[in-house]
């Protein structure tokens, strides 16, 4: 197997008495789209800036293509960064912005021209070379920023929430474009975001980061269906959370404070005394399950509200005998169109979809 593009070993960064990045170990494979997903302030930018060379790690090593680059300055690393605020050069036009890095490599003028043109075409900006930065739209600036780094053919392209400043519609569109672009050029992308949908849509691998450490590194699908920690389960995708206690083991059964008993699964051994949280995804709820379904948990819901959002319509309900709110995703077909506010409705969920974590 090839050496990974990036290997991080025991990387730490502390500011005074605050640990921003805490002893990380991971690697990124050649050609993959690797995302780091985490809430604001969890240390994503700090990690990225260490990889780019703007911050020196407090300890640990950093290898790029197998070479130790822990102390190499940014201009000597085969790594480029697309900044959170883009940082385009306002006094240069589009062409000059993209050519900037190539000029630094001392390429001939003709070669530079060809490369810039090819890159502009790739990001759908042919003919924009002479434009000033201030004349571009938000999405176009975005693409120039990415083109400016990509044209250098870096071993690793770092992107720090590049879509953060765009409006929702454009963000959706750029997500797909970015993914396509990455597949076309084959460059390894390391993408930072606090938006789980961006991470899930685009990535081959996602690392979920919390308080300076990685909670889980996995494929988007596994993260979603097999979260390793309660943080991942809560952070990735929407979920219903119920506080529960162990009622019995083998098979595991848990009980809510209002007396509902459910079969559940847990990744680790649990103690009787643990107070637990039960995670149930809205789309794993089966409304009006047929009687033939064995081994599923059944309970009664009272419909409080219907949140219509096209393909993403949801039901807001309370579990019978309690006022505990519960979200249920409605299937696409019009099967449950008849449900109205105040209805009582049977619901079921497989024990495998009820995941317990220590609170």
């Amino acid at each position: 197997m090839n050496t990974p593009v990036l290997q991080i070993q025991n990387l730490r960064k502390t500011f005074a008495d605050f640990t921003a990045v805490d002893t990380l170990n991971f690697q990124v494979e050649e050609g993959s789209f690797f995302s780091i997903l985490g809430p604001s302030g969890c240390g994503k930018t700090t990690l990225l800036r260490m990889i780019a060379g703007f911050l020196e790690p407090s300890s640990g090593t950093l290898l790029i293509r197998g070479k130790d680059m822990t102390t190499t300055p940014p201009n000597r690393r085969p790594v480029n960064l697309v900044f959170q605020n883009l940082a385009l050069f306002p006094m240069m036009n589009v062409h000059e912005n993209i050519a900037f890095g190539l000029r630094r490599q001392g390429l001939a003028g003709r070669e530079i021209g060809q490369k810039v043109e090819a890159m502009l075409e790739r990001v759908h900006l042919s003919g924009f070379g002479k434009k000033n930065i201030s004349q571009l739209s938000g999405g176009q600036k975005q693409r120039v920023a990415i083109a400016r780094s990509l044209v250098l053919e870096p071993s690793l392209l770092l992107l720090d929430e590049p879509l953060g400043a765009l409006d929702l519609k454009l963000r959706e569109q750029m997500k797909i474009e970015l993914k396509k672009l990455q597949e076309e050029v084959g460059t390894t992308f390391m993408y930072i975001t606090h938006d789980q949908s961006e991470a899930l849509v685009m990535s081959d691998q996602v690392a979920v980061m919390n308080k300076g450490t990685f909670e889980q590194i996995d494929t988007p699908r596994n993260l979603y269906s097999n979260p390793a920690t309660s943080f991942v389960a809560g952070f990735v995708g929407e979920t219903n959370i119920l506080p529960v206690q162990v009622a019995s083991r083998r098979p595991l059964q848990v009980a809510t404070s209002f007396g509902l008993q459910l079969h559940a699964t847990a990744g680790i051994d649990l103690n009787d005394s643990d107070s637990l949280a039960l995670y149930i995804r809205p789309e794993s709820i089966i409304l009006e399950p047929s009687d033939s379904m064995k081994h599923i948990n059944r309970f009664l819901l009272t419909v409080q509200n219907i949140l219509f959002d096209g393909s993403n319509t949801k039901l807001l309900a309370t579990i019978a005998e309690s006022d505990h709110e519960f979200t249920v995703a409605l299937p696409q077909n019009q099967q449950f169109a008849h449900i109205a506010k105040g209805d009582h409705i049977q619901a079921g969920v497989h024990p495998e979809s009820c995941r317990c974590f220590v609170r």
Binding site: N75, A87, G101, R104
Partner: protein
Amino acid sequence: MKNHIRLSLYIFLTPVLLWLLLLIVIPHIELLIMSLKGTDDLGDPVWTLANYRHFFTEQIYWYTFVRTAVYAMLTTVLTFVVTFPVAFYITKVVSVRLSGFLTIVLLMPFWVSELVRVYGWMILLRESGVINHLLISSGLMNTPIEMLYNDISMMMGLVYTSMLFMAVPLISSLEGMDDSIIEAAHDLGASPPTIFCKIIIPYAAPGITSGSIVVFMLALGNYLTPTLMGGKNSLWFTEQIYNEFIASFNWNQGAAFGFLLLALSSIIIWAGLKLTRQELGRALS
């Protein structure tokens, strides 16, 4: 209602226009007329270009102008070289709080008049001055040396007097610069010297241009500093104009020199802008 607004606009504009007319346009027209007058051999007043011709035919006049212009340019360059690191340090290196404080410290000397500042320098530099005293009492020197009255001390005085006018536009243009631009350039492979030449200087160019124009004009039009600190060798073009008016009573010649100064300095600035591909409008906005 519309008339009302128009009226108030006129009312507000009137003082400005009057001011322009009374204090700038009219005196200049009078000076222009004066510069075109002279006396013929019989002593009668006539219209003539002789005052302008004199400038080019008499070596001492254009020599003084060239000298003044060269030194004013040198002042501009030196002021930039001295001020830029300070402005950069204030805006990009230190914390916001300290930068405000440092800016005030930088501006402090300019709360006193130029005359007082120049005399301050003279007290420091003169043969029986503070610096000589310190050097001798510390045993580094045996006899005092005269540090005043030469081109170096004059340049120093000019640069010192001009610093403020370079610092303010530089600080304001550097303040607007996002630090991440510098990092981006570094990330794209630029070494620190390259970043300075290709990113910081072009970014601050409008500020540099406007600062340079102001400093150049001020140095060219300065009178106090060259005469007081330059001493015996410092014939400055403004001093020549002053002498024509005051000592020689030749107001016609003095007025012509005044207009030549205006025209030639405008040409120099225009050429400077062309050479550095800057636009006046952008620099002054």
